[in-house]
């Protein structure tokens, strides 16, 4: 079985993002970029499935500008067999990303697609579900445990009410939650090895994906600041303050 893994590059999760004063966007120039944390978890899960003998090949997919190559090399160094780079200078919204993945699914015929549950930049949490719908295949979102046997996948999902287990026929789309696994670190020799692994470059325009970006972002703002609080000296004063506010 072949596994396709979505591998998005985002502003590093440790960066405290700044909104531009004119409201035209957030500052991304000179800011550290990394793999979306949920995508590292997706790649790790695919690699573990390959190590278990469930999958033979793990292919990472990135959509973005020419300089995305370095980012894809990181995924190859982590252990992916090869990468597909869909090149576009434009930011791509989830519906378009799902349509791109569908084209790659038709070409590559994977048994499984694993994506992160959300990207930490747009926080949309849509692409995996949209791909599953367009492909007319099962989806298992927010996965914290994945088991594959007999052409079926059993997934434990982290939902608000607790832990739900579902079973789905393959091929299917899985989106990863934080507790699925602990992604491995990249070792130096693997960085060297990754340099010789193949990256297929496909121009976005050549895929024949209809433009689907129908959401227009007109303004960016910083969130309202909370006013500076007060410190109390002991438990008695805290209780008194909360009672005064009518909260206890």
């Amino acid at each position: 079985m072949k596994i396709l893994v979505g591998y998005k590059r985002v502003v590093d999760y440790n960066v405290r993002i700044q909104v531009k004063p004119d409201g035209s966007g957030v500052v991304t120039e000179g800011v550290k970029l990394s793999a979306n944390p949920f995508d590292d978890i997706a790649l790790e899960e695919a690699l573990r499935l390959r190590e278990k003998g469930v999958a033979e090949e793990v292919v990472i997919v990135g959509i973005g500008p020419a300089d995305l190559t370095a980012h894809l090399r990181n995924g190859l160094a982590m252990g992916a067999n090869r990468a597909i780079h869909v090149t576009t200078a434009e930011a791509v919204q989830p519906l378009t990303a799902a349509r791109v993945f569908l084209k790659l699914v038709e070409k590559e015929q994977p048994g499984l697609v694993i994506l992160g549950k959300q990207a930490i930049d747009d926080d949309a949490n849509q692409t995996g579900q949209m791909l599953a719908a367009l492909w007319d295949r099962p989806q298992a979102t927010f996965a914290s445990k994945v088991e594959i046997a007999d052409g079926k996948v059993t997934v434990t999902r982290e939902i608000d009410a607790g832990l739900e287990t579902i079973e789905a026929d393959l091929p299917a789309v899985i989106t990863t939650d934080l507790r699925l696994n602990e992604p491995r670190f990249i070792k130096l020799p693997d960085i060297m090895k990754a340099k010789s692994k193949p990256i297929d470059t496909i121009e976005f325009g050549s895929l024949g994906v209809e433009a689907g970006d129908h959401l227009k972002t007109t303004h960016y703002a910083a969130p309202p600041k909370r006013s500076r609080g007060v410190m109390v000296k002991d438990a008695a004063e805290l209780v008194a303050t909360l009672k005064q506010k009518g909260l206890l």
Binding site: V11, Y13, I17, V19, V26, P94, L95, A98, D121, D123, A124, N125, Q126, G128, Q129, M130, A132, A133, L134, P138, A140, T141, T154, R157, E158, I159, D160, A161, G162, L163, E164, T165, I166, E167, A168, D177, L178, R179, G212, D213, H214, L215, T217, T218, H219, Y220, A221, A222, P223, G229, M231, V232, K233, D234, A235, A236, L238, V239, A240, L247
Partner: protein
């Protein structure tokens, strides 16, 4: 004019309060009608409950054995079909809605607006990005159906009781897939208030130290009638089950009172509590980032302070 279809969320025969919150967001669009769609294997009680929500024009039921469990692959084709004639489809931005809504949007071939926190116009919405560190205004294409998930922490529940909307069985004739099957649900059983709708929440973090020590947090929460939450560190350390996690990757809540005990205040945790009315922080580290957002802070050992709080309340 706008007509909005709100998809009801329910579990164990009870309507989730997130449904009434999505109705509030729908009302903000000032539509001609707000209809609620209940997909269930037995919808009568749920529909009667939904019909009482203020602002609801009509309740539609889709009763099928396949709807016994909220499987997105099974529900999405029904919702997509039911969406005909509506300008908007609103779903709560809970794990239920996040799973379902994008599948519906893709079937309709439209973009989705995630986590609507404010309605600026019939097709203009505000939503958070970058873990709530920026708020964007987005415009959806007026020529298309708007599929949106509603950030529950941003909307109060529409009041319940005075309304009596008509209930109609809808006949959604669509073939359903059998490729996805429900196996089981393990619920964290609790008699405490629900974390997402509670007016008071007490949360513990890594500072609590162990699963056993968490008892002190539960006991204090029970004393003030609060729900109990936790930071990701406390969940990862195995002190509490994951459904108690508050933050960007857990639940986003907006109680009147939030008490963070032994929580340092990582960005991803703060994202989950930004809309709380009053934030109280109790931490032994005076430099902990949680104090930057706390309305009331108290520096000290939680194992000493909590018994003192209980004594002061007695």
């Amino acid at each position: 004019m706008s007509k909005i279809l709100v998809i009801a969320e329910h579990l164990d025969g009870k309507l989730n309060p997130s449904t009434a919150r999505a109705v509030s967001a729908a009302a903000a669009v000032k539509p001609e009608a707000i209809d609620v769609l209940v997909l269930a294997d037995s919808a009568d009680t749920l529909a009667a409950e939904a019909a009482k929500i203020e602002g609801v024009s009509r309740v539609l039921t889709a009763t099928r054995a396949e709807n016994a469990h909220a499987l997105a692959a099974v529900m999405a084709p029904q919702v997509a079909k039911a969406a005909a004639g509506y300008s908007h489809v609103f779903v709560p931005s809970t794990t239920f809605g996040k799973d379902l809504a994008p599948r519906v949007a893709a079937l309709l071939g439209v973009a989705q607006v995630s986590d609507v926190m404010a309605v600026e116009g019939s097709h203009t919405f505000k939503r958070p990005i970058y873990a709530g560190n920026a708020i964007v205004t987005v415009e959806a294409d007026p020529a298309q159906t708007v599929v949106a998930t509603i950030r529950t922490a941003s909307w109060s529940a529409a009041s319940n009781g005075a309304n009596s909307a008509p209930i109609e069985a809808s006949n959604i004739d669509v073939a359903l897939p059998s490729h996805t099957r429900f196996v089981e649900l393990k619920q964290g059983k609790s008699d405490r208030p629900d974390l997402q709708s509670a007016s008071k929440v007490v949360s513990g973090g890594r500072g609590v130290g162990s699963k056993e020590n968490f008892e002190i947090v539960y006991k204090f929460a029970d004393k003030i009638g609060a729900a109990v939450g936790a930071s990701r560190a406390a969940v990862d350390a195995g002190y509490v089950p994951n459904e108690m996690q508050v933050g960007q990757t857990g639940k986003i809540i907006a109680p009147e009172l939030y008490m963070a005990i032994g929580i340092s205040g990582a960005i991803q945790h703060l994202t989950g509590i930004k809309d709380a009315g009053t934030i109280v922080a109790i931490n032994k580290d005076a430099e902990a980032p949680i104090f930057e957002v706390a309305d009331i802070g108290l520096v000290g050992d939680l194992f000493k302070i909590i018994p003192e709080l209980e004594a002061a309340l007695a």
